[in-house]
Point group: C2
Chain length 342, copies 2
């Protein structure tokens, strides 16, 4: 076989199995066995081969391996709003678990959430022949879009409940809403409003449902709800409207950003938090403890969510029949934005 040409001390071609085999005095197949930890290799040969691998700095070629095994060792992460705290940390959780398990992580971010954009991204991943896809697109339309394409690899989605085709990993949002509303009820609030997230988001619907159900079970009216778009700006606008009407003494807000906007609007209107109105947020991003006042929130562990996705993915790879849905529990973090009504 040809030698590895050397120019200026740098190998001109990366070493391959054959090169290692020659140096160790064995066949390429034996080297392959060592690299793949096959059991039936004698200790002597294994050591010879490992020495040769170290000497040449051999690393196996992913493309060649993929070509024959039909596996790419790659997980596709399909996400939207990836610059936001929740999705970003979920992605990081997936990345961490995936890399620890020896997988590469390929990312595709949706510019806008639509059927076509989702299908396009999935096709992108199929072109790359990923071994599985994690979907962080917490919209109601997502599952339907995914069902359209015969994907052929395991899919795990964050947010919805799983079904036969798609695994689901989610935080128990209804429970989170319940924690928040029960806390307010416990403080003596009776008129508890909700600043909801956009109702085409799975989580926004679940939080609103939880808010409604908890009030109902306490015999309280659930009539004050306004829908925002998750942004601080929309929270601000809604806060101004709420300040004008003054119908609630407590607000359960769908996320921390909107809560920030609400606090700002109430502050401008001279309404004190928590003396006049209590506010609870959702997510617990790192800044929430430094709002004015520090925000009582429902905390969810996004990284854990991501790790669970990967865990479910690995179960699917094993062919084992795992659970269709994994649920992570949120918790309530008390700060000074909530107090009994005056």
């Amino acid at each position: 076989m040809d030698t590895i040409l050397v120019t200026h001390g740098k190998p001109r071609r990366l070493p391959r199995l054959e090169d290692v085999a020659e140096l160790a005095g064995v066949s390429h197949q034996t080297v392959s066995r060592v690299v793949n930890n096959h059991p039936n290799v004698s200790t002597g040969t294994r050591e010879k081969v490992e020495a040769a691998i170290a000497q040449l700095g051999y690393r196996r070629n992913t493309a060649a391996r993929s070509l024959v095994t039909r596996r790419s060792q790659t997980i596709g992460v399909l996400g939207s709003e990836l610059s936001q705290y929740g999705p970003a940390n979920t992605m990081l959780g997936v990345e961490r678990a995936a890399r620890d398990a020896g997988y590469f992580v390929s990312v595709a971010a949706l510019r806008e959430v639509s059927r076509d954009a989702i299908l396009d991204a999935v096709r992108h991943f199929l072109d790359q022949s990923v071994d599985g896809i994690v979907v962080i697109v917490p919209h109601l339309q997502t599952l339907a879009a995914l069902a359209e394409l015969p994907i052929g690899v395991p899919v795990v989605a964050v947010g919805p409940d799983g079904n036969e085709a798609v695994g689901g990993v989610r935080v128990d949002q209804r429970r989170g809403a319940e924690l928040a509303v029960r806390h307010l009820i416990g403080q003596g609030h009776v008129r508890i409003g909700h600043v909801a997230g956009p109702q085409d988001w799975i989580d926004a619907v679940a939080r609103a449902d939880g808010w409604r159900a908890t009030l109902a079970s306490a015999g309280l009216a659930a009539d004050l709800v306004i829908e925002g778009d998750w942004s601080a700006g929309s929270g601000y606008e809604i806060g101004r409207r709420i300040a004008a009407t003054r119908r609630a003494t407590a607000l359960f807000v769908g996320n921390d950003q909107m809560a920030l906007g609400v606090l700002r609007a109430l502050n401008e209107a001279g309404i004190r938090v928590p003396q006049d109105v209590s506010v609870v947020g959702f997510d617990d991003q790192p800044e929430a403890g430094y709002f004015s006042p520090p925000l009582t929130v429902v905390r969810q562990d996004f990284e854990e969510l991501g790790r669970r996705c990967m865990q479910m993915m690995l179960t699917a790879f094993d062919g084992a029949e795992g659970p269709r849905t994994l649920v992570v529990q949120p918790e309530l973090v008390l700060r000074s934005s909530t107090a009994p009504p005056a």
Copy 2:
């Protein structure tokens, strides 16, 4: 050749060049030429082949292609703190530009910023044989770590100036600091403090330098500087100390999160912003306009930064001798957290 077995309407094996060739009545090489847009294919054959491709739903196999071309069509993005506004959006900018250019994006997030973690991630990418690496690790140590490994593919780093080995794309942080400080000086402030980011971050050093230089050129003292860790919590602690000493009438804060903490501390201490103290932040994350009070900031366009990285990468692929450093300009956004001193 063998037929594509069909079970339950689903192809058991994906179609390959050969299958398309047979259906179109040409050789596999001709199909390859069509797929790769080679010029010398007659219109008639091209149409026949395209019809066959459409009929079979053919997509070319990335692994096989990579094996022979020695290119993976993949860009590695190596990042730290990817859940934060700036890095996350930079990554999204890279992703967008990369996918538009037909590349896959592989992500590796550093758990902690250290030489070993960086080398490990780079090796991860080399195993995947990425065509290029974008590094979003804005620490001083990054460049040195990268220099240790013979990487063999183009590298573009966000933050530092470029050199022969590594391309650099950055926002002009000194200029940003200058904009902020000049604005405060223009309002009549004389005692202007700085809440700095951690000084092992490239940007933190540049912003502090800009603050110092601008004050010096105006003949003002640059003696009040305290270093934080970018978090709202550290901003809060620093804000408390500042509130106790009352030496400055204006503060240039290294990022928006710390500014949030500072605002909180000042508010608790009964110091009014901007009447008693003016505050300027840095980054302009979407929430900054809804702090109490809305924050005057230096805005940087992180997505643009990411796009430029990819642009520089593509230039490097072409073998063209492009610029070693690309610089993006920040801008000042005026809100109500700054006013002339009382």
